[in-house]
Amino acid sequence: MKIFKSIKWRLQLWYGLILVLVLAGFGFTAYQLEWGRQMRRIDDELHRRVNLLAGALRPPPRRPAPDRPMPDGFPEERPKPFPPREFHLPPQAAELFDPNDPNDFYFVIDSRSGDELARSTNAPARETMWDRRKANTMPRLSADTFHPVSVQVLGKFRQMQETLPSGETIYVGCLATPALKELHLSALWLMVTGGIILFLGVSGGGWLVGRALRPIDNISNAAMKISAGDLSQRINTAETESELGRLAAVLNSTFARLETAFAQQRQFTADAAHELRTPVTVMLTQTQTALNRERNAAEYRETLEACQRASQRMRKLIESLLELARLDAGQETLKRSKFDLSQTARDCVELVRPLAVARGIKIHCDLQPVEAHGDAERLAQVITNLLANAVQYNKDNGEVRVSAKEQDSMILLAVSDTGPGISSEDLPHVFDRFYRADSSRSSGQTGLGLAISKAIVEAHGGTIEVASQPGTGTTFTVVLPAT
């Protein structure tokens, strides 16, 4: 059942259940209290009448004692300690007993010997009035008497009986039905009130839960749209302070980062495709021109050479792209070892020197021995790339300085040139993929060199920075953690 899986319905079910239990407990207690109160009220009335009747029981008129002694030999008749008494209903008691109303109080008085001394006309028949087996006797200690008083429920009657010290037993009872009716009425009221409270509680609770869960709906709607491919969706966070608001904010920032990452990826793919277009165009144009008519061997050779250059460029680009993809995916496992970075730098300088010599550029080295822990080949790639850039973007007969040193447990490697520098608007983008300060592609560079260098340095836990003074030169600084 889907409805029971929903948090909203489960919550509502649970507190509905709890509310029912609480209301039932409350209602039951209230009913009990009310019942007790009603019964006590009846019992008080009964007791008042019992006391009154007890007070109305008078001893019989005193007879003078026989002055003549009993003849000897006869057992002397012992005077009874309590002579049988007579009963007269006092006038104030008569007000309390209406003999014509069967619903009113009744009384029965038994003498010590068990004979009926008096009874009100509305008293029920004796056999229904008193059935010891059926009677639910509840001993009750009266506040102003010391003799036992008991209360019984006889069918629809409630009856109190008291046996006086003199031996008479007084029964006073009344019909309990009106009190029970009243009780039932109040029970009905309790149930109706409870029902209303339950209804208000469940519907109000439903509203509250719906309100509380609305952000979740927002979140799931936004997440749904995002999973459908619309990454620009965000969760509407009106209340940012609540738990769900915070969750929404966290999700929103995740979505934003996802969107940026996707946009970067898309841009990267577009750029990569774009970079491949030019060499493909060269090859297409070259081959189509060559095939237009018969050519001599020299022309074919020229075409093939141009195609070769274009394919080399594509190969370089593809290798760079794959390298970046591997670095991005973290698959690029660095072959870490301990080595002297200054020696690596020296090797790189020798590699680049022919390029520099061709343009009359001098390379100055200030390389102190520094022990690095990392992938020597990859770091050599970084240094070569920086040096090649420093030569390529230098002026003729310029200078390139390369230095390595250890400082504050960090390895600092710097390559600076005396070229035209990088303008301040291009400077933040030099490590971006395919970014070229100069929009031409004739340089033969892929536009990925610095991006790859950055990825390699960062894979080593280091940083790469650039500082440039237009007109004076540019300095790239690689900072690596020392071993």
Binding site: H274, R277, T281, Q286, D438
Partner: protein, 216 residues
């Protein structure tokens, strides 16, 4: 027809120039924006093939500056095929757009269309008397029989036909039929004109003495 190509990729520039020359166009080249702008402003080219990405002055900027003085039809070459870039190109004043990589045949067709449109010609067949010029196939027919013309001769006929009824000066003809590599001091033009007259009839091209040539 004289065309300027502005392209920074040397291999592409060379093969484009070669292919267009073989199509009978006079071709000038520039490998950067500044030179391209200078050439574009100096001559009335029949069309300019302009790459967007150029060192120094890029294609957009070149076009913007060129449009201040010239209405030369411009065909942009670009590696970006997003409609945003196309819209920008066309709004800046480009007349057409070709996305790299392209087929040479498509580039040629677009260039022909561009040149035709700039001469207010709507079809690629021009009929003058009993002479029919198919500018797409670059063929000329006289009384429905094909006539063999050299590339230069065809270019002369096409240029005059596209400017039918106008007097075209010798300087104009030199400018549009020969590129900066040709030796324009020779009387090559007179030779071409007399050859065309032989092939298409003596009165096909009339000479306006002191002014130039004309096709009525």
């Amino acid at each position: 027809m004289r065309i300027l190509i502005v392209e920074d990729e040397p291999d592409l520039l060379r093969s484009l120039a070669q292919a267009l020359r073989e199509e009978g166009y006079a071709v000038d080249t520039a490998n950067n924006g500044e030179d391209g702008l200078f050439n574009g402003e100096s001559y009335d080219y029949d069309a300019i093939v302009l790459d967007v990405m150029l060192p120094g002055l890029d294609g957009w900027e070149l076009l913007k500056r060129l449009r201040k003085t010239k209405k030369t039809p411009v065909l942009m070459l670009t590696a970006r095929d997003q409609s945003r870039d196309r819209v920008r190109g066309l709004d800046t004043g480009a007349d057409d757009y070709v996305v790299k990589p392209f087929d040479l045949s498509e580039l040629f067709a677009r260039l022909r269309a561009l040149i035709r449109r700039s001469a207010n010609q709507t079809t690629n067949v021009i009929e003058i008397g009993n002479v029919k010029i198919d500018t797409a196939a670059r063929n000329v027919y006289r009384a429905d029989k094909p006539v063999e013309l050299t590339a230069r001769e065809y270019a002369l006929v096409e240029f005059l036909a596209l400017h039918r009824g106008e007097v075209v000066t010798r300087t104009q003809l030199y400018e549009h039929l020969f590129d900066e590599n040709d030796n324009t001091l020779s009387n090559l033009l007179d030779v071409h004109v007399s050859n065309v007259r032989k092939k298409l009839g003596g009165d096909f091209i009339t000479t306006r003495r002191g002014h130039g040539y004309c096709i009525e």
